[in-house]
């Protein structure tokens, strides 16, 4: 799940994200071309970071207006609801790590599978969540945007 709180870092992160998702010039090798796969993985990590810092504006840049999000408890959210949940977390996440991420590219569509490992405290009690997620990204005007994201608790 990517709806956790952390330390506010200001607006710098949003600006950096904008630079990250902006279509890259690839002419004459002036700017080294990043593969779609590595770019998407970078966006995934940026998303985690933004959530940990409760930076809804940074998350907003990464997700499409029609994005649908399904939480590990089955709650379904649209983009506005998800962004509101990012900004208003009552859970204190100390660490969110993504592991074992794989990217399957289908032209202008990419499907990312991976595992979140999250430690933190809720109502004063420590917790550890492991969740498997699937994110679907679509390339639009040269930028990758997430159109669907879903998490499921790993119970065994």
């Amino acid at each position: 799940m990517r709806t956790k709180e952390g330390v506010e870092m200001g607006k710098l992160f949003s600006v950096l994200l904008l630079l990250l998702i902006a279509p890259r010039a690839n002419a004459q090798g002036v700017i080294p071309a990043q593969t779609d796969e590595s770019r998407i993985l970078t966006l995934e990590l940026a998303w985690n970071q933004a959530v940990q810092e409760k930076d809804a504006k940074a998350v907003e840049i990464l997700i499409a207006p029609e994005m649908v999000y399904i939480e590990y408890d089955g709650t379904v959210m649209n983009r506005a609801e998800y962004l509101a949940s990012v900004a208003a977390r009552s859970v204190h996440a100390e660490q969110i790590l993504s592991e074992a991420m794989t990217v399957h590219l289908y032209g202008a569509v990419a499907v990312v599978n991976g595992v979140y490992r999250e430690t933190g405290a809720k109502a004063g009690k420590p917790y550890l969540h492991r969740e498997r997620f699937t994110d679907t990204w679509v390339r639009r005007d040269g930028s990758w945007l997430c159109v669907a994201s879903q998490s499921t608790l790993i119970v065994r």
């Binding site: 029609e66 649908v68 399904i70 939480e71 590990y72 408890d73 089955g74 709650t75 379904v76 399957h104 289908y106 202008a108 569509v109 499907v111 599978n113 492991r130 969740e131 498997r132 997620f133 699937t134 679907t136 679509v138 159109v147 669907a148 879903q150 998490s151 499921t152 608790l153 790993i154 119970v155 065994r156």
Partner: protein, 152 residues
């Protein structure tokens, strides 16, 4: 002369307006047709799972298809098909499905209810899913699917 230009412009406007109407209607029909097709495929998929028909399910899934089960297990297409054979599912019903089109890709969200027997005990599972379909070589194939239990 002014009148003539105005008349031509008016005629042109009418022609363009009329020409755009069927196109718009066709576009809407096309999206609607895609949604109907995808929902039909979703139902066929549920039906195949229910009757353990691996041959019917096989052509619905892309070779690189990945599935995340309601307990967080990640499964390949081969594992999903093998699981269908051995599954204890008796009934699969999908409801409240919505489809969002992204060019040649469709994201379907919905709720599933699954009845079955496990270890001699009946179970009823209810969860939310996202399936991603892609149009490839004249066919719609599922490239990804995930299930999440509804806890509340």
């Amino acid at each position: 002369m002014k009148t003539s230009v105005a008349n031509v412009a008016a005629c042109l406007l009418i022609v363009l307006t009329l020409a755009s109407l069927p196109l718009r209607a066709q576009d809407e029909l096309s999206d609607s047709a895609v949604r109907s097709k995808i929902f039909a495929l979703e139902n066929a998929w549920s039906q195949a799972a229910e009757i353990k028909d691996v041959k019917a399910m096989d052509p619905l899934l892309d070779s690189a298809f990945l599935y995340v089960d309601f307990d967080g297990r990640l499964m390949t297409k081969a594992e999903v098909l093998a699981n269908v054979k051995s599954a204890s599912v008796q009934q699969v019903v999908t409801e409240a499905m919505t489809a969002t089109l992204h060019g040649n890709t469709v994201v379907v969200t919905g709720i599933f209810r699954m009845k079955g027997m496990e270890g001699g005990k009946p179970y009823l599972r209810r969860g939310r899913f996202i399936d991603v379909w892609m149009y490839q070589n004249g066919n719609w194939l599922a490239i990804s699917s995930q299930a999440t239990p509804i806890a509340r």
